[in-house]
């Protein structure tokens, strides 16, 4: 065991010394891989940061489409779609039974406007908005502060205009709720003073509401909802989805959000996927370059490899020596690349990100663990590039007869 590790140590030393023999060539190889790694690392971190910023930013932009009853009023703002409270409702399983293609997510909402909830002293009107926390993509992205843990059945989220502090009690129709979270300012009245709770919690209030008001509002029936907020799947066209929905459900109204924003969302998703492919291609081309370089190196060192084989080096050792040499160079390139990439990120942070933040556009960096993982992945990819690039030339050399290599044939 110790002897085998001695042989491995010797080969590692030989590989390192071989790199030192041609410093300019090694330096250029390291620089080439470092450049690729720097771009890949910085690119990956920026792309993933943009992606997470987008996921927050775009989800705050609301839904692409809204499905409401034909006679319902809608309040369309540039960024958010809000169902105006009304007694018109839709079947809760409307989209489950006739779901149109092209819909990525559908979030049902129940909106009840009431002045008898018990909030305030003068019969204050309040919108109670029931949503399904699991399907929701328009309410929760606006939460600026929340209590630890998941939202429970006795928790509510309040709009930014409400002064209730987190953790305090809020009584709705005689039932105490805990203020779990608070939204930031949305610019939409319904949301600013609204109280958001899970649909199940809102439905659980139905008997008390019926007692207080004398009627059961239709959206509080378990099989009815006020409307649906929809997000389109990547590539789906708004018009096609709208047409498909209307053809199946003539009793509904389909309202579009900002089609420009939908286009940007879909386009940026495609751009990010394309950037990932470009990074992969860049590493691929570096691997080809390493392969060409190591073909030349193996050719240059035929006599030495032949000598090693002659005095007892086995095929695996010949492959190991060459591949290790390449991996050492490309891994070193990976290390330099990650450092250079980190400097690029710093530059990016101090320029573009600073300006975006000044303009009020949120930019969320990856957390440290994810960033360290990205760096680690870049290092592994760089080392793999060396391994892949040098494998074929070393395999070919290992298959040659020692005498042919010593004579420099082929």
């Amino acid at each position: 065991m110790a002897d085998a590790s001695g042989a491995r140590l010797l080969l590692a030393r030989l590989a390192l010394q071989n790199l030192g023999r041609r410093r300019i060539r090694t330096g250029l190889l390291v620089a080439a891989v470092a450049l690729s790694s720097a771009i890949a690392f910085a690119g990956a971190v920026i792309m993933r940061s943009i992606e997470s910023s987008m996921s927050v930013g775009f989800s705050r932009l609301g839904a692409d489409l809204m499905v409401v009853p034909l006679d319902a009023l809608t309040h369309l703002t540039a960024a958010l779609l809000v169902v105006e409270p009304s007694d018109s409702t839709l079947p809760a399983d409307l989209l489950a039974t006739g779901k149109a293609p092209g819909i990525a997510r559908a979030a049902p909402q129940r909106v009840l406007r009431t002045d008898r909830s018990g909030i305030g002293t003068h019969g204050e009107s309040v919108d109670l908005i029931g949503f399904d926390p699991l399907d929701d993509f328009t309410v929760q992205p606006w939460i600026t502060e929340r209590l630890p843990g998941a939202m429970g059945p006795r928790d509510v989220i309040v709009g930014s205009a409400r002064t209730a502090r987190l953790g305090t009690e809020l009584v709705l129709f005689g039932t105490p709720f805990r203020v779990y979270g608070k939204l930031s300012a949305t610019g939409v009245g319904t949301h600013e003073r609204g109280i958001f709770l899970s649909s199940n919690s809102l439905l659980a209030l139905a008997p008390a509401i019926q007692t207080q008001t004398g009627t059961l509002p239709p959206m509080l029936r378990p099989d009815r909802v006020s409307g649906f907020l929809l997000q389109l799947a990547p590539g789906a066209r708004e018009l096609q989805v709208r047409f498909a929905l209307l053809s199946h459900h003539p009793q509904i109204k389909v309202v579009a959000g900002g089609s420009l924003l939908t286009g940007i969302r879909q386009g940026l998703s495609a751009l990010l996927s394309g950037a990932v492919v470009l990074v992969a291609l860049m590493f691929g081309s570096t691997a080809v370059m390493v392969g060409v370089l190591f073909s030349a190196i193996v050719s240059e060192r035929r006599a030495e490899l032949g000598l090693l084989k002659a005095i007892g080096a086995r095929r695996g050792q010949i492959i190991g020596l060459t591949v290790l040499e390449a991996m050492m160079a490309t891994a070193a390139g990976g290390v330099f690349g990650v450092v250079a990439g980190a400097l690029l990120l710093r530059l990016f942070e101090r320029s573009l990100v600073f300006h975006l933040t000044q303009m009020g556009v949120p930019f969320l960096w990856l957390d440290r663990l994810d960033m360290a993982l990205s760096a680690g992945l870049c290092l592994v990819a760089a080392a793999l590039v060396g391994m892949v690039g040098a494998f074929i030339p070393s395999l070919r050399a290992s298959r040659r007869e020692p005498y042919d290599l010593v004579r420099g044939d082929g």
Partner: protein, 220 residues
């Protein structure tokens, strides 16, 4: 004992197959000193490469100490070479990045016999008169010193067969005598079978057995 039976080597060239060695049979008894002589291009180096397990024959077999070299797999043959055959090539065959000591210990290290390898290498270098050059790199040594390091490396695994292919062709007469003296001493003192390939008839005259190769065949 070294035995070759029906050994042939044919190279494929653009102008068709060329027979470098044709049906060679030879035997060299254990501990003997044999010289393979012949003119340039007669096939003596090709013959030595097949004997040493460095080049696969087109036909025939080579047995070294009872083992048919070419019936072994590539890795087993490599291991056999490391343990049983020492080589002295006609060029300075040292790894330039390793010190003399590591160059000599290399066959043992590659074979996983690292325990005491450097001590054994140091003793051999002392024996070759290179005690002061253990840490020297090849570029810091003369051609004669380098050749002595190569001989030490060939002997480090206690081989049964020592193959030397024109080991002194690029050396001056005095150094040639030194090198041949070392090879002959290894043959006599260690009982290692020595096969020397040379075109120098004066050197061949010192051998106990002379094998003349002409046009790829052993001359009668």
């Amino acid at each position: 004992m070294l035995i070759c039976e029906g050994l042939s080597k044919t190279y494929d060239t653009d102008r068709g197959p060329v027979a470098a060695i044709r049906g060679v049979d030879l035997t060299v008894n254990a501990g003997r000193y044999a010289a393979i002589i012949g003119r340039s291009g007669s096939g003596k180096s090709s013959l030595m490469a097949m004997i040493g397990g460095l080049s696969r024959p087109s036909a025939g077999c080579v047995k070294v100490a009872g083992t048919d070299l070419w019936s072994l797999g590539a890795d087993a043959r490599a291991r056999f070479r490391a343990r049983n055959i020492g080589y002295v090539f006609q060029f300075a065959s040292l790894l330039p990045t390793l010190r003399a000591l590591d160059n000599v210990a290399l066959p043992l290290l590659l074979d996983g016999r690292g325990q005491g390898a450097r001590e054994r290498a140091a003793a051999l270098l002392e024996e070759m008169g290179l005690g002061a050059h253990l840490d020297a790199f090849p570029s810091e040594m003369s051609a004669g010193e380098q050749r002595r390091v190569v001989i030490a490396r060939a002997l480090v695994g206690d081989p049964v067969l020592l193959l030397a292919d024109e080991p002194t062709s690029d050396l001056d007469e005095e150094t040639e005598r030194e090198i041949m003296g070392l090879l002959e001493r290894a043959n006599r003192a260690r009982g290692t079978t020595l096969v020397l390939v040379t075109h120098n008839l004066a050197l061949a005259a010192q051998a106990e057995q002379v094998i003349q190769v002409a046009d790829g065949a052993v001359a009668p």
